[in-house]
Symmetry: C2
Subunit: 429 residues, 2 copies
């Protein structure tokens, strides 16, 4: 179908009536569907069922005889450190393996930098009049929530096709010592699906920052979460920073939340040995160590990196059809030209959709009123403010294919409806 | 034996020679024993072996259908909240059940109070020129480490027979608004073994504090850790605070670290509903929830409070003989009158021993030189400073009875030796 603008008034009104009728039909279905969060579905969780009972009452010792039941081991079991180091392509001396949440590692790291001097910090961030973080957007709402919680001013950075707009980034960090960090989801980014190009990674590592203690918060949440057989590759930021003579610049985060179990996985943090030593010393005040039995479970179940990679192919086999279904519905139902654009991600958990400016909030509200919950419009931007009110994050993994079909059809219907309404309004009809 | 002071010079020198000879014999044994930390022994860990494999690939749903594998549930599974509420004698609405470390809950709570306003706080503690905590001593070194880490000034409070010296406490908190908290291990206290009397609990709840946001950090680590069939009872501090019209004054902490597994247990925090609501809101920035599978394991394995209580009797059966052995050796080997005093705890993990002033450091060093590691002298006091250098914490649970016998005999030998040396020095011999 051509652009809405090319329809005559009568055709436009007829089209609007048909859409309105369809929307009422949807409302009558009393749907209760959720496409709001990047949650694995039951079939995905079932892939890791063996994790639950892979240990036994005679199997609780780690390879070097460590009794995983007792206290100790602040940075994780040696064998899990080795495996996680392989995942993140770092050395075992550059990693800490912790409990079930990488979000906790990020939150706590920001808190530590506020209350204590990071290596390279002249003063704890909390003693400075203002701290700012760069936030490539759309991005992950929980990163932004951490900033807001700690009173860190967020500066929005645009995304280009291969990562954040580095011209903006470089200019800002060179000029302002209050800018202490940047949030990055560098691979299959939440929600854009973008993987940072080598050029972007290199510029991030090399750029001059006014703050000597500037840190890249590199949330590599989807490192292994490919949807195709030709996965994106991401340059190693730790190596890049070391080469660029900024060895302590980056903290890398990941977890098995979307590999094993979201609620009962293991989280990891990689960085320079200097940062790791600093962090271990701080963590010793906070804990006597992570749950080593759960780390041992992950070793027993996955065995090695290739075990995890095979496992990830089984995840992809379950969720790829869901992505395809949604993309297909977007393609066919958003037939009006130039109404929307969307990503075709090669991995990760989201489809990123941009409506015409000014429509996202209305679409999300309208979908909710017919029983489909989407991520709140604006949530993917700092302070919840999407400047163009156009970004919608679609999380297709949790619903069944049947539910997803309905949810995606409703979503596209709402977009068509709101866009047509807008066009009618413009024409004073 | 009479007091050392009553021996004549020649008898004293002869006694000293015999002791020195025995010490050399010990050194020749090349012992490698550790009585330094309150760690459960292997036999204790074996009591909970069933916890490792009590779930299965068909058992991962909580009572109300919650899939414990997935995200969610910031304050813990409803059934574990119910069980933990029974342990701490509070309502399920007054509790949060978290990951494997109550130390983390304490550390993070202090960090939150520094960075954000507690209910009743006029300003985050970190914005004040100084914060102080009261530290009944000897106490738990990790509490003191948290204070030191966050730059909180520690004020030492003496212990009387039934708890901290409340005259000191009341006077201080009434006069100084910078005093924001007190650390308490109210039952079978680490290391004194004291259980706070009802009178002490009531005074803590009732006392007037200059700081409106004064908080009691009530680390009830040994709530169920009895060594006898006539356990101490502890008044409920939450109820006492509510009655005294200071409903938000206390935070109660506990864990199953010394019930199930130290490394893979569950931790809990109880407080007023106001504090709990405040805390949950803060935790949502930090995590998507605790490991619910491990919480479910604890429900399946222990079933209910009486299951835990029976389990604790099995712990006592293993460790009571260790306490008895050490107490017996102290009684028989420290035969010289008035050389030492020590606790006879009815529960908990420690025997508290006081030497003559000025001897503790030397004793601990001397024992280490013969291969027995004790808790560092002074560690049980703020800043590691025991004003009289006399306190030694004995942790008898980890070593075997055979090892413990050697370790306790060496300890008493070192005490006798150092004390005799001291007496010789006094006489100029």
């Amino acid at each position: 179908m051509a652009e809405l603008q090319t329809l005559n008034n009568s055709d436009l009104q007829e089209y609007y009536s048909a859409l309105s009728y369809n929307y009422k039909e949807f409302q009558n279905k009393n749907l209760r569907l959720d496409m709001s969060r990047g949650k694995p579905c039951t079939e995905q969780l079932d892939l890791s069922l063996g994790l639950i009972d892979c240990l036994s009452s005679s199997d609780y010792l780690a390879a070097d005889g460590i009794d995983c039941r007792n206290y100790g081991g602040i940075d994780g079991l040696p064998e899990i450190k080795k495996l996680c180091a392989e995942i993140l392509e770092v050395k075992p001396t550059e990693i800490i393996v912790d409990g079930n949440s990488s979000l906790t590692l990020m939150h706590d790291l920001v808190a530590r930098a506020i209350l204590h001097c990071l290596p390279d910090s002249e003063t704890p961030w909390g003693k400075l009049p203002k701290i700012k973080f760069l936030c490539p957007s759309p991005g992950y709402d929980r990163h932004f929530a951490i900033c807001e919680y700690f009173g860190i001013e967020m500066i929005r950075i645009d995304y280009l096709s291969d990562g954040p707009d580095m011209d903006q980034v470089e200019k800002l960090v060179a000029a302002d010592s209050a800018i202490k960090g940047i949030w990055c989801v560098p691979k299959y980014s939440n929600p854009t699906g973008i993987t940072y190009s080598d050029a972007i990674v290199t510029r991030l590592a090399k750029m001059s920052t006014k703050a000597p203690d500037f840190r890249i918060f590199w949330d590599n949440a989807y490192a292994l979460h490919h949807l195709t057989d030709t996965p994106d590759s991401l340059q190693n930021i730790l190596t890049a920073c070391q080469k660029a003579n900024h060895p302590n610049r980056c903290f890398i985060f990941a977890s098995t939340s979307k590999i094993s179990f979201p609620g009962a996985g293991i989280a990891m943090l990689a960085s320079s040995e200097t940062n790791i030593a600093w962090l271990k010393k701080q963590m010793l005040i906070q804990t006597l160590g992570p749950d080593k039995l759960n780390q041992l479970r992950h070793i027993r179940f996955f065995k090695n990196l290739s075990g995890i990679e095979n496992h990830m192919r089984r995840h992809a086999a379950i969720i790829k059809p869901k992505f395809d279904l949604v993309l297909n519905i977007l393609q066919t139902q958003l037939a009006v030209k130039n109404l929307c654009s969307w990503s075709t991600p090669q991995g990760g958990y989201f489809i990123n959709l941009n409506t015409q400016p000014g429509c996202a909030k209305k679409v999300v509200t309208m979908a909710a009123e017919a029983g489909v919950v989407l991520t709140s419009a604006g949530a993917t931007f700092p302070y919840g403010l999407d400047p163009l009110d156009q970004n919608i994050r679609i999380a297709p993994t949790l619903p069944s294919l049947l539910d997803l079909k309905q949810a995606a059809e409703l979503l596209t219907l709402c977009i068509n409806l709101i866009s047509t309404e807008e066009e009618l309004r413009k024409r004073g009809l």
